[in-house]
Amino acid sequence: MAKMTLEDLRKLREQKKGEMDKRDMEGKDVEIIIGMGTCGIAAGAKECLDAFILEIDKAGLGNVTVKQTGCMGLCYVEPTVEVHVPGMPDTIYGKVDAAVVRQIVEEHLVGKTLVNNHIFDRPAADIIRN
């Protein structure tokens, strides 16, 4: 690699920062959990997960973690995605393809409004707790 100027160094830092931020779990309050059971994967959960990572990168959101989980039980509307945003109700979206992913990122994560037509459930918090 060639010797850097001050500008080069700053550019390199900015470019790599996003990548490193993904490893830092501190202060990340938004969670996306994707149902990756057999039903989910068959219905395209992997593509859905890729789309989330891509869109979150594009939107420059540093406070989001994307995790995977097993089947959520809503196999008829796979792929399913659970979204936790502080100050908003926890939501499960169904039939999430790449286009819906974009919508969720733009409207739910950035715009703080729920994405209609794809809400299928709320996590059963009372059951999960036990």
Binding site: R10, L12, K22, R23, K28, I53, Q68, G70
Partner: protein, 594 residues
């Protein structure tokens, strides 16, 4: 495909020695085999600190914290955590009494504040881009383009940072003295000659985050007006040396070391000098003589290195941990740093916690944390629930801290006040099974070996003290010997030439002060309460309890136990080597130790 998971594998020396490299390779191999190589990035990082449970593997974003991982676990980690997003329960670290894993439950980390170790266990130390992404070389940028050398000194003075090598001299003042010295050539030296038995803070910092030290040394060069830096590191730290060399090469390639750094017109480069592992070379003047190619022996101060150091030129010499603090202080400001820790000792301190402790490892806590928090909250208490006896801080130069001082906030001054010292950060925990005389003898033996022999108080004093301790451990010492040790120790403190000799009597003096009853037992009763001093221990078989099972006789390495089957056995005291094998083998508590 985008990377969705990160697997961080600890690459510190402790984990490396328990197959971390194999685990790293196996994870990469398995990821490829299971078709998820592009979904996951496997990173080899620096020390996580939790060496007790190593090798450590952490998976993100799930925050799965896997401990004592084996290479054979790689298949399951990839198949479960990466492919299916499930945690491998049997590898997770579970805090006692917890049923579910939560990374925030791990007590080992709860009270830690990581400034020096900010990147350890997080970045790949062999990749400069990861350091840069974590605001690396941003402090250098700021210094070169926005600050004058005076500004840097002021910032350090405001931070109140004190040298982490042990003596706790204010870093800002040291930099200012070297800056003020006039000369055609000055040097910046990094003391990485970590020598206290049981201490490995500096090694881990260099292994886990070498660039933090390189950046700080460059800042130091700019501040005092030097163009050459030298890292003096002992040859028995091969991994740290290798990572430093890689880091230096990457920095040079990017123009962060060398001529005209970042186009600022400032030149600075660093070289490595290997030490042969002599303890005295951690003393700054001896270290400088060693770099010059002379025998590593201290020279009297003054002149201080700031005035006349390496090759008689003004030299700034700081230890690894001190340097590692500097980039953060420059970026976040001296007042931010001064707000952490105690008023007289701001910031954090890294300790290598070892000995009879459940969670041995590397911990970084704010100054002012109490010993109780370190030993019981972070360290998880004493092994096998044996009562706590003392902690040795400052290695062979320090002293013991007893249970009466468990709640004393730890900083430079409080430790000196109770007869110990901060030292570089080694912390060895002792329990009631440890004999304080045996420990003092160990350290004195170390000092006898490591004394360079230049001045009489140290050369003769350490040997005399050792001989007296040896007499004590054999039950042959008198009260007059004890009084003599104090006289000799006090004389050495005043008359020895360098820190090694001045502090060598500390382990003896402080243990005599805090455990007089142990010394008395050795002198008056010819008895070792902990049962460590072999010459004072006698194993005996209680004929009432012995059922003649022959286990002890079979275990005895010198065949000194005799007796018929089903008849009480007898130990031949003349032949017994006091190894204790019979004592631990007996299932009927028939063997007594006194």
């Amino acid at each position: 495909m985008a990377v969705k998971n990160y697997i961080l594998v600890c690459g510190g020396t402790a984990c490396e020695s328990s197959k971390a490299e194999e685990i790293y390779q196996a994870l990469i191999h398995e990821a490829e085999k299971q078709g998820v190589a592009r979904d996951v990035q496997v990173v080899k990082t620096g020390c996580f600190g939790f060496c007790e449970k190593g090798p450590i593997v952490k998976v993100l974003p799930e925050e799965a914290f896997y401990v004592t991982v084996q290479p054979s676990d790689a298949q399951e980690i990839i198949a479960e955590t990466i492919v299916k997003g499930r945690m491998v329960k049997r590898l997770l670290y579970l805090e006692e009494g917890k049923k579910e894993f939560d990374i925030d439950d791990i007590k080992f980390y709860q009270k830690q504040v990581r400034i020096v170790l900010r990147n350890c266990g997080f970045i790949d130390p062999e990749n400069i881009e990861e350091y840069i992404a974590r605001d690396g070389y941003k402090a250098l940028e700021k210094v070169l383009f926005e600050m004058t050398p005076e500004d840097v000194v002021e910032e350090l003075k405001e931070s109140g940072l004190r040298g982490r090598g042990g003596a706790g001299f204010p870093t800002g003042l040291k930099w200012n003295f070297t800056k003020a010295a006039h000369s055609d050539q000055k040097y910046v030296v990094c003391n990485a000659d970590e020598g206290d038995p049981g201490a490995y803070m500096d090694r881990s910092t260099l292994e886990g985050d070498p660039h933090s030290v390189l950046e700080a040394m460059t800042i130091a060069g700019y501040t005092i007006g030097a163009d050459t830096g030298i890292i003096y590191i002992r040859a028995e730290y091969p991994l740290a040396i290798e990572r430093l060399k890689i880091a230096m090469k990457q920095s040079r390639d990017l123009g962060l070391l060398g001529k005209d750094i970042l186009g600022s017109g400032f030149d600075f480069d660093i070289e490595i000098r290997l030490g042969a592992g002599a303890f005295v070379c951690g003393e700054e003047t001896a270290l400088l003589r060693s770099i010059e190619g002379n025998r590593g022996m201290p020279t009297p101060k003054p002149p201080f290195p700031a005035v006349e150091g390496l090759w008689k030129r003004p030299t700034l010499i700081n230890n690894v941990e001190t340097y590692a603090n500097i980039p953060v202080i420059i970026l976040k400001g001296g007042s931010w740093f001064a707000g952490i820790g105690t008023e007289k000792s701001p910031g954090t301190k890294v300790f290598a916690l070892t000995g009879k402790i459940n969670n041995s490892g590397l911990v970084e806590v704010p100054m002012g944390t109490t010993l109780r928090e370190i030993v019981y909250d972070i360290g998880g208490g004493i092994r096998n629930n044996v009562p706590f006896k003392a902690v040795q801080t400052g290695g062979p130069s320090g002293g013991v801290i007893t249970k009466d001082f468990l709640d004393t906030p730890i900083d430079f001054d409080s430790l000196v006040a109770i007869g110990s010292m901060m030292g570089s950060g080694g912390m060895i925990v002792m329990d009631e099974d440890d004999c304080i005389i045996d420990v003092a003898k160990f350290y004195m033996d170390f000092c006898v070996e490591e004394s360079c022999g230049k001045c009489a108080p140290c050369r003769i004093g350490t040997k005399k003290l050792y001989n007296t301790l040896d007499k004590l451990s054999k039950g042959k010492a008198t009260q007059a010997d004890l009084d003599n040790m104090i006289v000799m120790g006090e004389a050495m403190k005043k008359a020895a030439l360098c820190g090694l000799g001045q502090t060598a009597p500390n382990p003896v003096l402080s243990s005599m002060k805090y455990f007089p009853e142990d010394y008395r037992a050795h002198v008056e009763d010819k008895r070792c309460p902990a049962g460590k001093c072999k010459d004072l221990v006698h194993y005996q078989i209680d004929p009432e309890k012995c059922i003649g099972c022959t286990v002890c006789a079979r275990k005895c390495p010198v065949n000194c136990i005799s007796g018929e089957r089903k008849v009480a056995h007898v130990i031949n005291q003349d032949a017994c080597v006091k190894c204790g094998e019979c004592y631990s083998a007996c299932k009927f508590d028939a063997i007594t130790k006194n």
